[in-house]
Amino acid sequence: MKFSDLILPSLIAIILLYGIVKGVDVYAAFVEGAIEGAKSALKIFPYILAIIFAINLFIQSGAEEFIVNLLKPVTSIIGFPPELLSLSIVKPLSGSGSIGVFQTILDNYGADSYLGRSASVLMGSSETIFYTAAVYFGAVGISNYRYTIKVGLISHLASIVASLIVCKLMF
């Protein structure tokens, strides 16, 4: 048994018990909230559909590969490992896609190599920006995201740089 396995069940039990103590009709409240939740889940479906179509098309058509090849000469000048380039591009786009790329890095270079470690840190310190933005904003009908994507990408860039430096220094 792991600590992480305890978090969810305890949380559920605490919430229900606390509700009962406070005199809340927990069942009625639960169902009322669940209806809202089910509605929001259906509402985000078209956004998920749109983003999955675009991202899968982009990766599978070779467009992503083309950009990687285009960037390779530039990034090799500053000493950026080309092996991490694909992961850096796919990660903000697709969670499942990045797992595939990450697995390839682990298979080819080993989890305990410098590349394997920095890829691991990069995986853990970045997120799927476009998907999250599309779902969260889509759910409430926001179409103007302002600077969200821009800053998200800046933060992704910071993750990449930090992953490389931290792994150099700490291992």
């Binding site: 509700g19 809340v24 889940a41 675009a54 470690r117 853990g124 926001i142 179409s143 933060s155 993750s159």
Partner: protein, 191 residues
């Protein structure tokens, strides 16, 4: 986002033609799109469950106490919504779920938070400062233990799969701080 979406789709179609494999588009259309349904199928029950459970929490009025305790932090990050107890609480829940790596639950809370933020939004089409800050913190990744990464490392024969926890924490804190800094910078500019 609309530009980004069109660029992704059109460049995808363009490159599939260029490589002489236009069937890629058809494959994505008929095979990969099923994944969106799978995603919804996996999200819907958990979202309904958590919003249900959160309704119970909401009716106990404990939210006021939680958001009061977190006031200083919220005041700095989300200045405009300081009095909005429901929104603050939904934000706190989303960020906590993300820290613990509860992806789907975080999405459920996150959408709830966006709804609360949208209530007091004057222009329903344009994101508010608080919405941008909230989203950016989420996408800058704040997960404390990257459990999936550790699992994949262990599966591929690493001798110390969890040795990346501390470096990841350092890297992710750095990127989150950078994100907050830039969000604060862009916030000042007019919409």
């Amino acid at each position: 986002m609309k530009t980004m979406w069109c660029v992704l789709v059109l460049s995808g179609i363009f490159f599939s033609f260029l490589k002489g494999e236009p069937q890629t588009v058809t494959n994505v259309l008929f095979l990969d799109l099923q994944k969106s349904v799978e995603l919804i199928v996996s999200l819907l029950p958990i979202m309904a469950f958590w919003t249900g459970l959160m309704k119970v929490v909401e009716k106990t009025n404990i939210l006021n106490k939680i958001s009061y305790a977190l006031k200083p932090l919220v005041k700095f990050l989300f200045r405009d919504i300081i009095g909005d107890v429901k929104a603050v609480n939904a934000i706190v829940l989303t960020l906590s779920a993300n820290m613990l790596g509860l992806g789907n639950s975080a999405t459920a809370f996150g959408i709830q938070a966006m709804k609360e933020l949208q209530r007091n939004n004057k222009n329903k089409k344009i994101a508010t400062n608080a919405m941008c800050m909230f989203l950016i913190i989420n996408v800058s990744s704040i997960q404390l233990i990257p459990i999936n990464v550790i699992k994949l490392r262990a599966d591929s024969g690493s001798i110390a799969p969890s040795e990346i926890i501390l470096p990841t924490l350092v890297a992710t804190s750095f990127s989150t701080l950078i994100a907050i800094f830039f969000t604060k910078y862009y916030e000042r500019k007019k919409i």
